[in-house]
Symmetry: C2
């Protein structure tokens, strides 16, 4: 088969790769219905965060049909449609049971999902099967639950978004947009999206944003304060991962409020004294998508949400390099890849 | 009257000061029953954190009898015994109503309490009156509620200490010791105190510590992991405020666990990537003591807790300089000052 491999900055190749095989008895092999490119893939693509080893097979968002399972696998079987998280989990350890499957004691981060076939370790704990094979038009939204929606959902949950409260979303990438959708689902009364791109603002409003703030940095913070009686917001969802965005999030939050951060931070240093006097709650990390998957899948199957709208570019898998370019140049919010 | 003034590093003077007067109509003047020296007073005393202006009147922990009130004061009256927080609050703004009185929109940090008389702004919101003047033997414990116990209590609350869970307390100062007491009151099953001082270990055990860890830094973290099935603790209460203690706390916490920090951080910088992959909850700041005061006062009056035990040195107010020396040299945990 052919799969996607990053060789270096902006050097994506779709090339011959060995077909994945069952290696451990808890593995499953999936034939993917769709995969996609993550905002986090752009860091190594841009050469900012380097993988320990290059070339590196790319992709960690996936859904598809089970092709084969290892001899210990009990919860999924060949022929079933499944969605899994970008982080594998046994779903039985203490950390998993507490809802932090993305930090499972056996966790591995997935890779090599921008390909037609994928090996998933810890299949029983990682994958969620769906009773019937879903209709094709729901595939993008089901694929979204695998990471980008699950991560936006965690942003809203970790920022304690509650009915009647004000939530600010920093970042208008796919995760930020789905954080808006998540905050709406959790009942936020006011959802302020920080975005300066018209097409993204439009989608943010469609997903539930009540206000758009185009200013950034100190001006953005001042604008949020203006909109929140001078106090700052109850919940601020940081969906970028830069020093500027983290500070913007922390400084836009009222004392006693909540800041979540769900994008891998790059060169972020937080000053203890500022955090102390800001008196915010801070929580983030790799989203425990597995915790939310059953509920998110149900919301999609019931057509109560349509997170697949973030895929504004759909390409055949063999054009994956163009998918990266389009996202890198912000021509696309998120690229879906069809094997 | 005479009061305590810091002139520079290790230069504490007990000298003539003007008697405090009502300045604003929401003020009250107290005749203090007792005051004390705070661990946080040692930072400027050691010349590490400088006040913007020196000389600076010292002291922010207090209880006593109301001597006079401004014309807007309704909730307290002359002759009443009151306890107040180290941070003033109107107790009516949105932030106060949410329980973050230490970040009240009208907050001032108290000072000049190491003296016989004290002016307290926003008396109605800041002070909690007690129906009868309490017996003398309860004064140390009531004084403790004003800051050191309230701060330890916040450490336990912010770290989500719950019945049956494991809590680690980093720091064996008075706040750390009362964080142990607070964790015990909140039902923690296992309370691990990190301390290498025998007298403090003894008091920690008396307050409810089930384990003592004497190692620090990487060895301390390894020891906590050993005691928690390799995972880290559910709740870690950071009661020091240095880079080393913050990292020790964060790295001793299991993914999804809670870290609180209640001492003003000094030169602390937190790495975003480490926080992200640690996946802890982080919350701290100036303790909203006013939130807890009514309950803490009741626990003291009912003699269910005896936080006053942290005062292992009691001096007449005019020997305040010796009180600072004893704490600086760690000969005393905490010094009570009797006017």
């Amino acid at each position: 088969m052919k799969g996607t491999v990053l060789y270096g900055a902006r050097d994506i190749r779709f090339e011959d790769r060995p077909e994945p095989k069952i290696i451990k008895p808890a593995d499953a092999i999936l034939r993917l219905s769709a995969s996609c490119i993550c905002g986090s893939d752009l860091w190594p693509y841009r050469g900012i965060a380097n993988f320990a080893e290059l070339p590196a097979p790319m992709g960690h968002e996936y859904c598809g049909i089970v092709e084969e399972v290892g001899k210990e696998v009990r919860n999924v079987k060949p022929g079933q449609f499944v969605v899994g998280s970008f982080a594998t989990s046994d779903n039985t350890c203490v950390i998993c049971q507490d809802g932090y499957q993305s930090s499972c004691v056996q966790r591995e981060f997935m890779s090599a999902a921008q390909a037609p076939l994928l090996r998933v370790p810890l299949a029983d704990g990682t994958l969620v099967p769906i009773t019937d094979v879903p209709p094709k038009e729901l595939i993008p939204s089901l694929l979204a639950t695998s990471d980008v929606l699950g991560t936006g959902w965690f942003a809203a949950d970790a920022a304690n978004v509650k009915s009647g409260k004000t939530a600010v979303v920093v970042g208008d990438g796919a995760v930020g947009l789905l954080a808006v959708l998540s905050a709406k689902q959790m009942g936020a009364e006011r959802i302020i999206a920080m975005s300066r791109h018209e097409s993204r603002q439009k989608l943010a409003r469609e997903f539930g944003a009540t206000d758009i703030v185009t200013e950034r940095g100190e001006e953005g913070i001042a604008r949020i304060k203006e909109l929140t009686k001078g106090l700052g917001a109850d919940s601020v969802l940081e969906c970028v991962g830069t020093q500027e965005s983290m500070l913007q999030a922390i400084r836009s939050t009222r004392p006693g409020g909540y800041v979540s951060y769900v994008g891998v931070p790059h060169a972020v240093k937080l000053d203890g004294t500022e955090l102390f006097f800001g008196e915010v709650h801070l929580h983030g990390g790799p989203a425990p998508v597995r915790r939310y998957l059953p509920d998110l899948i149900e919301l999609v199957l019931d057509e109560k949400i349509n997170p697949g709208k973030v895929f504004d570019l759909k390409l055949p898998l063999d054009q994956v390099a163009e998918g990266y370019r389009a996202m890198d140049e912000r021509r696309a919010i998120k690229t879906l890849l069809q094997p």
